[in-house]
């Protein structure tokens, strides 16, 4: 059992033990290493100023992704190579992204700039043919208050691609990969007076630990729980973080379903479903930001149990199955049966989510997902809705509906579903359905919208669905 973290920052090796392991990555960088280029603004992953690249071992190489270092605990960075803004120069000179940001006035006050540079550098490391939309997508997780973004987009379009030295050349992976591969076979346990963190190397170790520490909270990506730690002084005594379990981040597809491992990130999922379930892909595109999706997981989105989580309505209408693991073995629960109240589930203290199985839409089935938020990107939803349905001529043969943001949990709308089954596709029918839908929900007023707004949206989304069906904008599954 290892009792220290092993990581690299800008090519330099660090071994960390004791209480230091429990601080946010950003704090370690700024105060531990004096690397103050990484900026702290919101401490909740909503501005991107703290973006750094986290490189993890993948197929013998180091795969880099931008993440928000303020909502990433240092132990999550075990067996990683962190590149901060200080580590992006090429041979002591500005790299082409930095050069373009300077020349095109992509920076004004400069406080957000390191985050933008980090996120853009990853994009230009990855992308062979950059375009304006790609540039925007790469920095959706970064807020700038000065430039109006236009100069940043321009900078992106003016990057000298030929001058880019790949990250794999800037930081040759051979030595780090060897260390990561070797260290990963062993679980890590770090204990201080009042805190414990366990990084299991495999599921068996994880199950054993959970059976012995039923109070252990589990971190997959940490994008929710770290916010609570930062903002509400949440200080769990025992944490089990899954980042080192080999294979747990796999996503596979069988004939009729997709299986998503507990640590598969939403980014991985986004790429995986792009052609398989385009509608889900579009929803994931407006889920948080790249930095959030690079850390956050589907399992985490389920376990956080927020009624305004983006993915569950889709999982509800697809009737996804949650695989729970414990030292006693595995158990399956349908997501439709999983939630027992606000943040309460059918999950025992010794169990954890190890994977999620999402049935694929059957031939002829249509899926439509809506997310309504104040801002389209990098926002949390006010209302969500998922519809899975099948048409027969001008009739609705079957329909499943899940609404989010309208009660303490995600809701199916059984009355509305029953009413719509077998009905003609007419506006009046959908208007009647809307009246039924509002009778099935109990939204509240909060910062994201008033009760009245949410009720109106609950109705409107059915009208929207009607017009989209009418106008032939929703494609049926072909396979």
């Amino acid at each position: 059992m290892r009792d220290y973290l092993h990581l690299f920052v800008n090519g330099k090796e660090h071994k960390i033990s004791g209480s230091e392991a429990f601080q946010p990555l950003s704090t370690f960088l700024r105060w531990g290493l004096g690397a103050t280029g990484t900026k702290i603004v919101c401490e909740e992953g909503d501005c991107g100023a703290c973006s750094v690249l986290v490189g993890k071992l993948k197929d013998g190489k180091i795969d880099y992704q931008p993440i928000n270092s303020c909502i990433q605990l240092l132990y999550q960075a075990d067996l990683s190579h962190i590149i901060t803004v200080e580590g992006l120069k090429q041979n002591g000179h500005l790299n082409p992204v930095q050069e373009a940001m300077v020349e095109c006035h992509g920076t004004q006050c400069g406080f957000c700039t390191p985050g933008f540079v980090v996120a853009m550098c990853e994009y230009f490391d990855r992308s062979k043919s950059p375009c304006a939309q790609g540039i925007k997508d790469s920095v959706t997780g970064n807020l700038c208050r000065c430039t109006g973004y236009e100069p940043i987009i321009k900078a992106g379009l003016n990057v000298d691609m030929a001058g880019i030295v790949p990250l794999s050349e800037l930081y040759p992976p051979a030595e780090m990969s060897k260390i990561f591969a070797k260290e990963r076979s062993e679980s890590v346990l770090i204990k201080t007076e009042d805190k414990t963190v366990f990084l299991p190397a495999n599921l068996a170790d994880a199950a054993k630990f959970k059976s012995e520490h039923s109070d252990a909270i589990i971190i997959a990506g940490g994008t929710d729980v770290c916010v609570v730690m930062n903002k509400r002084a949440y200080a769990p005594k025992v944490v089990m973080s899954f980042g080192n379990i080999e294979g747990l981040n796999e996503i596979s597809v069988s004939e009729n379903h997709i299986k998503v491992g507990a640590t598969a990130t939403l980014s991985q999922l986004e790429a995986f479903v792009k052609d398989r379930v385009p509608e889900f892909f579009h929803l994931l595109w407006v889920f948080g930001s790249p930095q959030i999706r690079n850390a956050g997981t589907l399992a985490g989105n389920i376990a956080n149990a927020s009624p305004i989580a983006d993915t569950p309505p889709f999982l509800f209408v697809m009737d996804a199955v949650i695989n729970l693991t414990s030292s006693k073995g595995n158990r399956q629960v349908r997501i439709n049966d999983f939630y027992k109240g606000y943040k309460k589930f059918d999950m025992q203290a010794d169990e954890f989510i190890s994977s999620v199985e999402i049935p694929l839409p059957a031939k002829g089935e249509m899926v439509r997902l809506y997310k309504v938020s104040r801002r389209k990107h990098l926002d949390i939803s006010t209302n969500t809705a998922a519809f899975k349905f099948k048409l027969n001529g001008n009739k609705i043969e079957d329909i499943t509906i899940a609404y989010g943001g309208v009660a303490a949990v995600i809701l199916r709308l059984p009355k509305t579903e029953a009413f719509l089954k077998g009905k003609q596709i007419e506006l009046d029918v959908f208007h009647q359905a809307a009246e039924l839908a509002v009778s099935e929900i109990t939204p509240i007023s909060d910062v994201r919208g008033s009760k009245e707004f949410r009720l109106q949206l609950a109705k409107n989304l059915l009208s929207k669905l009607f017009y989209e069906i009418k106008e032939g904008r929703i494609a049926a599954c072909q396979q």
Binding site: L94, Q108, T140, T147, Y149, E150, K231, E468
Partner: protein, 785 residues
């Protein structure tokens, strides 16, 4: 090539992109440095019955717990009126108001101390709306008035009159770097404070006041801010005072860095306004008279509210001639944090009111709003006097309107929008052109002064120090280019130094868009003084090298890094050589320039019937924008499809930097009018206190097509022919709001559509639902006719 007019990078850009630029919290702590935070009011209005710090004082690591009793000067301060209490005594006036300053060894001790402070309160009624403040006549200062002609009579004789109320909400600055300061105690009761402030002189003066020392005992230094936007004009003083008090009392360095949530909860915002108006107009939409009463929510103390109100009142005309007008302005005293400066400083709120009126007149008459705006534009040579009596001498609005209407393809696109709205069941489109005419200069005359220090070193390199502070807007780069151009040397030979009250005294805030105007002008004066000595010297030196000419200072030229006598241009010195000679010959290589804007005046009571009048502005920056939006009828999702901006900003010192101000201000304005919603609980708690819940524009919200241009026109009255550009384009964000309002016309029937500002998705959905239900109710009646 002159250094002015060149597109060179921001002087800190390289540091920004590498993370090497230092902001306050990046400064390594010194030995013994303390962390500072404060225990603040969690209720909007209450009597303090008791405050018990006994337990808090016992917390290990707590070094200082300071209350109003520890202040060494009076508890009252304020940038205009000394009405603000910095540390609560017996009455809490707003949620977030500081009560106890805590200095401690670490964060943990601070949190423990906060938890251990016991306070007993007796709740009092909190005034949390303009409406309630009006009912209780809770106001700050007198109601001000600007008046021309007989409004009552003119309205009576007008063909049409609209009477309405228009509400625009506040806005959070959302500078990325939160409020911050570090104070270092010095010998003999002196103190050095590094502050993230737009106004080092005010920070200096306020600290001196609270420490009970003369102003010369305090040095305030500002290297840069991670954004300001007005939020660090008056309100950066609070953290600076807190750090200074701790440093002064403990003789240890003290650092305060607000976290984002506390920053948003405790500091003031853009003023919400609720304006009532009556506007008379003829059949063409030409305004005959405007009566308006502006009510702003000033928050608990005046702060800058009275100046903000002055600017709002001076901008209700915006680009339009109001022949007869009567505008009053009242500041409501509420129990919110004191609202403060925010880019535009009341201007946007005044302009929003009249731009809304333009849309309403057009809706009333069934006209194209652009036609209504055109008939109301200020004239050239006639109809060109503002309600407060200033003559507009450089009206370029007609040229801007004509060019923009064509370049944006307005007419064609508007008819496409109208057609789209007739056909689409799922979406609405809107298009609007709105204008800006923004007065440049501080409304308050005495603030229009600046000084600059220019030092040339013996290798010819130059340091410039002014009162301008750098918050990303590029003022340092502008000044660097202005100084380089004075000697016609390369800009990289000039460095603009951190702003320090030690170098420049009694400076004005970097505000009112005029930092380059004022400080650049002062720098030019300093350069001219140095040049005078250098010219005299060069004349003699060069003449001594050539047999047949006499020394002639007027023949000396500084060009391309050289100095020569124009009569013998081949005999030349490099600038560096001349500087060396000057030093050897004991000629001054450092000067201070002082500038005061000429010809300004403003009076609150010199106008008719004791109303306000004057000539508060040196000139006006002008412009217009056309925005097109698409709205999802069901979700209220708003997409800004295309924006065309055309402005008159004179000849910019640095076109790249000017352009960045245009795009940045526009998008910030767009945020104000769309997604940026400040949500409060009933007790005044701010619910949207971080980016998770307060949504400024994201890169994906930027318009697909974004054309940004300016007309090529030199401004004869300002330094290097430029015009100020920081605030005016923010007001053009209103074109997006106007486009939404226009879109709603297609569903509101005969009614003038109502729309609160911001036009959030919620506001849009609820307005659409309202109009659709009205249409549904009307249907049977329609069927009868």
């Amino acid at each position: 090539m002159s250094a002015v007019g060149r597109d060179i990078p921001h002087d800190s850009a390289k540091g920004h992109v590498t993370g090497e630029s230092i902001y306050l919290d990046d400064v390594p702590p010194v030995r013994g440095e303390l962390l500072v935070d404060f225990f603040y009011a969690k209720t909007s209005h209450a009597k303090v019955k008791s405050l018990d710090l006994t337990e808090a004082a016992k917390v290990p690591g707590v070094v200082a717990l300071l209350t109003h009793k520890d202040l060494l000067g009076s508890n009252l301060f304020g940038p205009i009126t000394k009405d603000e209490i910095i540390l609560v005594e017996d009455e809490i006036m707003f949620m977030g108001q500081p009560i106890v300053i805590i200095g401690a060894e670490d964060r943990k001790a601070i949190e423990a101390a906060k938890a251990a402070i016991k306070i007993e309160l007796e709740p009092l009624e909190a005034i949390l709306s303009i409406k309630r403040a009006k009912e209780l006549n809770s106001v700050i200062g007198p109601t001000r008035r600007i008046k021309r002609g007989d409004v009552e009579a003119t309205l009576k004789n007008s063909a049409h009159v609209i009477e309405n109320t228009f509400r625009n909400e506040g806005q959070e600055h959302f500078y990325l770097e939160s409020q911050a300061a570090i104070a270092y105690p010095k010998e003999n009761n002196q103190i050095e404070v590094h502050s993230s402030t737009q106004h080092p002189s005010e920070v200096q003066e306020v600290i001196a006041h609270f420490l009970g020392v003369p102003v010369n005992h305090v040095v305030c230094i500002t290297k840069r801010m991670g954004g300001g936007f007005g939020g660090k004009e008056s309100q950066a003083t609070h953290p600076a005072v807190m750090a200074s008090l701790v440093a002064f009392k403990t003789k240890r360095a003290a650092r305060i860095i607000f976290n984002k949530d506390h920053d948003m909860q405790c500091t003031g915002k853009r003023h919400p306004f609720e304006n009532t108006y009556k506007v008379g107009f003829d059949k063409d939409g030409r305004i005959t008279a405007l009566w308006a009463h502006l009510y702003s929510d000033g928050g608990a103390y005046n702060d800058l509210s009275s100046a903000v109100m002055a600017r709002a009142m001076c901008h209700i005309d915006n680009a339009y001639w109001l022949p007869v007008v009567d505008v009053s302005g009242t500041i409501c005293k509420t129990h919110f944090p004191p609202n403060t400066a925010f880019r535009g400083f009341g201007g946007p709120q005044g302009i929003a009111t009249i731009e809304n009126i333009m849309e309403e007149i057009a809706a009333y008459l069934g006209k194209d709003p652009l036609d209504v705006r055109k008939v109301n534009l200020y004239g050239v040579g006639e109809n060109n006097i503002t309600p407060y009596g200033e003559i507009i001498f450089d009206n370029n609005l007609h040229e801007i309107f004509e060019n923009l209407e064509i370049s944006s393809d307005y007419s064609k696109r508007k008819s496409e929008v109208d057609k789209f709205n007739r056909e689409s069941k799922t979406h609405l489109k809107g298009i609007a052109l709105s204008a800006v005419k923004f007065g440049i200069s501080f409304n308050t005359k005495f603030l229009n002064q600046a000084n600059a220090l220019v030092n040339i070193y013996i290798d010819g390199s130059i340091q410039v120090s002014t009162g301008a502070t750098e918050m990303g807007q590029g003022v340092n780069t502008n000044i660097k280019q202005i100084v380089a151009s004075e000697f016609d040397i390369e800009p990289d030979q000039v460095i603009v130094m951190p702003t320090s009250t030690e170098k420049n005294n009694n400076t004005s805030a970097t505000a009112a868009s005029s930092a380059t105007d004022l400080n650049g002008s002062a720098a030019v004066i300093a350069c001219e003084k140095i040049k005078e000595g250098l010219t005299e010297l060069a004349a003699h030196h060069l003449a001594s090298k050539v047999a047949d000419i006499n020394p002639s200072p007027s023949s000396i030229r500084f060009e391309g890094g050289f100095v020569f006598d124009r009569r013998r241009p081949d005999t030349r010195l490099t600038f560096k050589e001349l500087v060396k000679i000057a030093y050897m010959n004991r000629v001054s290589l450092g000067e201070r320039g002082y500038y005061a804007t000429k010809g300004l005046d403003w009076s609150w009571d010199a106008g008719p019937e004791g109303t306000a009048s004057g000539h508060p502005f040196l000139y006006y920056t002008q412009g217009a924008a056309v925005s097109e939006v698409t709205i999802d009828r069901f979700t209220g999702e708003l997409k800004v499809e295309r924006v065309d901006i055309l402005m008159d900003i004179g000849k910019p010192v640095n076109p790249g930097i000017a352009r960045g101000q245009l795009t940045g201000a526009f998008i910030q304005g767009m945020g104000w009018v769309t997604t940026e919603c400040l949500k409060y609980a009933e007790d005044g708690t701010l619910l949207s206190h971080s980016p998770t819940t307060y949504k400024i524009p994201n890169i994906q919200d930027t318009p697909e097509v974004f054309n940004v241009n300016w007309i090529d026109k030199e401004n004869s009255v300002n330094v290097k022919g430029t015009k100020a550009v920081g605030e005016p384009p923010l007001c053009l964000g209103l074109s997006v709001w106007c486009a939404v309002k226009y879109a709603l016309r297609s569903v509101s029937g005969a009614e003038i559509p109502k729309l609160i500002l911001p036009a959030s998705n919620e506001e849009i959905v609820m307005r659409l639902a309202e109009y659709e239900s009205k249409t549904a109710q009307k249907k049977p009646a329609d069927a009868l006719t």
